[in-house]
Amino acid sequence: MQFTQPHLEYAQLAPMLIVFGGACLGILVEALLPRGSRRVPQVVLTLLVLVVALVDTIVVGVHLDKHTDTAGQSARGLVGALGSVVVDGPTVYIWGLLLVFAIGGAALFAERRLEGGVSGFAGQAAALPGTSEEAEASRLGLEHTEVYPLLLFAVGGMLLFPASGDLLTMFVALEVLSLPLYLLCGLARRRRLLSQEAAMKYFLLGAFSSGFFLYGAALVYGYAGSMTFTGINTAVRNGAANHGLLLAGIGLLSVGLLFKVGAVPFQAWTPDVYQGAPTAVTAFMSAGTKVAAFGALLRLFYVGLDGERWSWQPMLWIVAILSMILGAVVAIAQTDVKRMLAYSSVSHTGFLLTGVLGAQSVTELAHGQYNSLVGVLVYLTAYGFSMIGAFALVTLVRDEGGEATSFTKWAGLGKRSPLVAGAFAFFLLSMAGIPLTAGFVGKWAVFTSAMSAGAWPVVVVAIASSIVAVFFYIRYVRLMFFSDAKPGEDGTVTMPSVLTSTTVVVCLAATLLLGVVPGPILNLVVGAGDFIR
């Protein structure tokens, strides 16, 4: 029996390898250094790994070669690791985006000034809430530094998710990114029951939806006889037998992915988890998971199931419409800022799905329009920066019980801290899609591409629900600037260290720049080109 050594494209896979390698190093740091002196090495290591990976991603992106697929379409990229990983323009762009968001997330993880010298993570996760062990842990100022390797593992999974070339790799990536996040969600220092409950819910429901995904993968394999997206696409185009198997498979695969992006009717976990998780984790997760999962969703639907578009499009129409309406409408009734942002994130999922429904091929597009891939990627960029920025600001408004997330505590914040309130208002306006913010450019891009594809009912709903959404964003702006706090009900702003403030400033600058001069980013995304098949 002859074994041939598999050929791996190390150069192109390097960003992922760097992140995974860094995560393993982080575990070694945990094992070898004494508890008290782990934090600085961990933070430095994490940031260093992420920055190196980002630089390498840029290098990979610049040096991508032309690839011509079986249909004769050519785009930049390569199919690597024996067909299980695809590195092409969109992948590289998503990698870059993810790494930037991860750097922001890591900076928020490392923030210690807000809690008076300790991080926002539990001192001793194993100690039961309310017990003497917990009190002891907080007296000693203990903190978990395992969060940094966990973050890196999650980032690694996120990098692999949109780059996967077959269903099995995609499933593995899904689990690799999810498991660390489940853990991270349960590690809040304050309100630990809420946090642990969020983690439990997220884990159970995540496992449940993963099961759907895996079963869907099995069904699709049964239909196509192949796990690779190219193979599935060929089978779909040739019209293999047992079409029902394929349809059921598409439905079940969609459950897994739509759960991760938080689309209705798979959104139920979103508000609870966003609220319960430590806010730094929420910030990273809300942006990172959404970017990675949409990347995977696009690859599955555009590459693997492209020939079956007429089957899955109506399904996504319904999901998009439901997500936008439910997200916007329920957000109106929220009285907690984290839950409000969570529902707003659900409605953003709907907007992104509107983009997924958009026109892809050049022939459908009028002069000078973007295809849906560009629309979704631009929207993700705008969305991620404003979400991270907004959640970072949520960590700053505090009272004696930790973060003050109730609306009443934010009343009149504009008078107490015009900078924080102004920045938060700006992020909200961007989420609302007001012109001259990043959100407007994103909405513009996804709506026009959906309109070109004839999905005008979805666009009508999208515009209607963005109008409803403006209502609650503006209500919050009014709350901060035009109403007065009840006595004793006013959250105060704690000055953060340079880590959080830099993150906020970068997000602010990105949101503004993308709104005012979106040209460079748009060109970058358009230049990234299409998926390779």
Partner: protein, 639 residues
């Protein structure tokens, strides 16, 4: 269809010479808003002077540019200025371009001219308000946004200005936020305007998808090639946008409530400029509407309904500002009607827009002056016989009154008469409605005039009416003069010729009756309205309390013709039910669970754990249900 070929296209030349200053017209008030808002309390002392000087500066530039434009050949009167490229990818190029042509030139003069006068007036009117600086900042913001709206060369820029004036209007209606009624009015205006903006947003996307651009230049060139269905949809969507901003039926309900704002705001935003943005939009989009006959019919219907609706409201209101607001709604109906009538009507719509800007701003400021003298009482039943106490206000108000009812020779006579004439020519039934509306206008304006300045005095004993300071009466005098003389714009058919490069030249149609005869009939109808008002109001004593034993017509008119109830039934209640229903469906008591959890956070929540498993189970159930729905959808599509 031969007339279609005469639709002029937008084809601007590069702005050179004095016209290259056009960006400065927007920049000055924008700068004012920025300085006053960011400068904080340091600018309290001189902020209002700066806030007034900058719009005046814009006015001077507008005037200079106007003469610069007038000095050119009529074919060269369109110039564009490229400010910067917003985004450019492949062939797509969305930039901030300004378009300066005869239409925007007139708007510039109106906005900066009337705007400056109102700024001056506000120095006096807001003298004792502790937040005067902020007021001027918002006013400047409004002026900048409004100028952006009328100067933009594409729909995206127009939309930016459109949202900007909406924001400024929202802030100014709710300026006295300590009054709950003001906050509620601001919210109502915001909500109804969002409905309009939705139409506007869809129109922009549709235009973009159809023509691959939002630039007026591109669309006007390509419009003839668009399918009629698309053009009709585009027209209707633009009209929805216009209805929201210009308070046309069915999105009219916010305008009367908007009178909660300070009176200069009512004069500037809710009479002279912002509410006429819808008319501007329709006129500016003439290249769309000329190819959309069905949409134009809808415009005419909406306009006719509104002009009668507003007039009826004006008849029953005792609040002087609300009566004027009803009248504004009605007059915008006239403008909209003019614009909906097509090439023959555009110029007169704009003409009426200008004269209305003069006389309505005049009367609103006059009403503000009356309120100033009457301790901010707005109820006309508490006025009476103010002509002696407020001589200047009375005299200037009278000029506005004569102008709006269309007294021969005054500005309103010329402009309204022309719209009625065109309407009678093009669509006789609508023309008769417009004629009827003129009669009702005569009625309600005479009623307002009589109840305020004539009849017996009905003041509270401790009220001592006094004339306003010169800084307030000065602008009144200027506006009164314009109300009288505004008709000069029609001299030698000037305004029609001036606007023809933008809106086209109408083929000459003979009206069913000779022009002077129509004018005579209109004057007679108005005279009947005036006489009736005297018969019913002027002759008798006006009760201080509104009588309750009135006919159902009056009751309906007092209740804004049930506009709020209609909105509530059709949108409000279903909307509230949707929110309540979604929340209930989405959380099913999760809220209660969290409250419970909060209480048990310190202990170990046994009850919480029970609930916890329950919830995960129900979430999981929803995932399962969702999965089934997805698969069923997929199967259904393939059946």
């Amino acid at each position: 269809m031969t007339a279609l070929e005469t639709v002029p296209v937008v084809d601007p030349a590069h702005a050179g010479g004095v016209l290259s200053l056009v960006w400065l017209v927007i920049a000055l008030p924008a700068l004012g808003a920025a300085v006053l808002l960011l400068g904080g309390r340091h600018t309290d002392r001189w902020g209002h002077y700066l806030g007034t000087a900058l719009p005046i500066g814009s006015f001077v530039i507008s005037l200079v540019m106007f003469f610069g434009l007038a000095g050119r050949d009529s074919g060269d009167r369109q110039v564009a200025q490229h400010l910067y490229t917003w985004f450019q990818t492949g062939h797509l190029n969305v930039g901030f371009d300004l378009l300066y042509d005869p239409l925007s030139a007139l708007f510039l003069l109106l906005i900066t001219g009337v705007g400056s006068l109102i700024h001056v007036y506000s120095i006096g009117y807001m003298a004792h308000d502790p937040r005067r600086r902020r007021f001027f900042a918002y006013l400047n913001l409004f002026v900048a946004a409004m100028l952006m709206l009328v100067l933009s060369e594409n729909y995206v820029g127009l939309f930016l200005g459109w949202e900007g004036v909406g924001l400024a209007s929202y802030l100014l209606i709710g300026f006295w936020q300590h009054k709950p009624s003001a906050a509620a009015a601001a919210k109502k205006a915001f909500v109804l305007n969002r409905v309009g903006d939705m139409g506007m947003g869809l129109a922009i996307f549709l235009a973009f998808v159809t023509f691959g651009s939002t630039s007026f230049t591109v669309i006007s060139h390509a419009a003839a090639g668009g399918s009629q269905t698309t053009m009709n949809w585009l027209g209707v969507l633009l009209l929805i946008g216009a209805c929201g901003k210009s308070a046309q039926v069915p999105l009219q309900a916010w305008l009367l409530d908007a009178m909660e704002g300070p009176t200069p705001v009512s004069a500037l935003i809710h009479a002279a400029t912002m509410v006429t943005a819808g008319v501007y939009l329709v006129t500016r989009s003439n290249f769309v509407f000329e190819h959309a006959p069905a949409a134009r019919t809808v415009v005419v219907v909406v306009a006719t309904v509104t002009l009668l609706w507003g007039a009826i409201l004006g008849c029953a209101k005792d609040d002087i500002k609300k009566a004027l607001a009803g009248s504004t709604m009605s007059q915008i109906g006239y403008m909209m009607l003019g614009a909906g009538l097509g090439v023959a009507g555009y110029a007169f719509a704009i003409f009426h827009l200008l004269t209305h800007g003069f006389f309505k701003a005049n009367m609103f400021l006059g009403a503000g002056s009356v309120m100033h003298g009457m301790d901010d009482d707005v109820n006309m039943r508490h006025y009476g016989a103010l002509d002696k106490a407020l001589p200047v206000t009375f005299a200037t108000f009278a000029m506005g009154y004569l102008a709006i009812i269309g007294f021969p020779g005054f500005s309103g006579f010329w402009s309204k008469d022309k719209i009625i004439e065109v309407a009678l020519t093009e669509r006789p039934i609508v023309g008769i409605c417009a004629l009827l509306g003129a009669g009702v206008t005569g009625f309600y304006m005479t009623r307002l005039m009589l109840m305020t300045f004539f009849t017996k005095r009905r003041w509270e004993p401790d009220v001592h009416p006094h004339e306003s300071p010169a800084v307030m009466t000065g602008p009144l005098v200027v506006l009164a003069a314009l109300s009288v003389l505004g008709g000069l714009l029609l001299l030698g058919n000037w305004i029609v010729d001036w606007l023809s490069p933008v809106v086209g030249t109408a083929p000459h149609d003979d009206p069913p009756l000779p022009g002077p005869v129509i004018s005579l009939i209109a004057v007679l109808v108005v005279a009947v309205g005036v006489f009736l008002a005297w018969w019913l109001v002027g002759r008798r004593d006006v009760p201080r309390e509104a009588p309750q034993d009135v006919s159902f017509v009056v009751r309906a008119a007092r209740a804004d013709l049930y506009g709020d109830d209609i909105n509530d039934t059709l949108v409000g209640r279903p909307g509230a039910a949707l929110v309540a229903g979604s929340v209930a469906a989405d959380r099913g008591g999760v809220d209660g669970f969290f409250r419970g959890l909060g209480a048990t956070v310190t202990g170990v929540g046994v009850g919480g754990r029970y609930l916890q498993t329950g919830y995960v189970r129900s979430y999981a159930l929803s995932i399962l249900g969702g999965a089934i729905v997805l698969v069923l959808t997929l199967v259904a599509v393939n059946l």
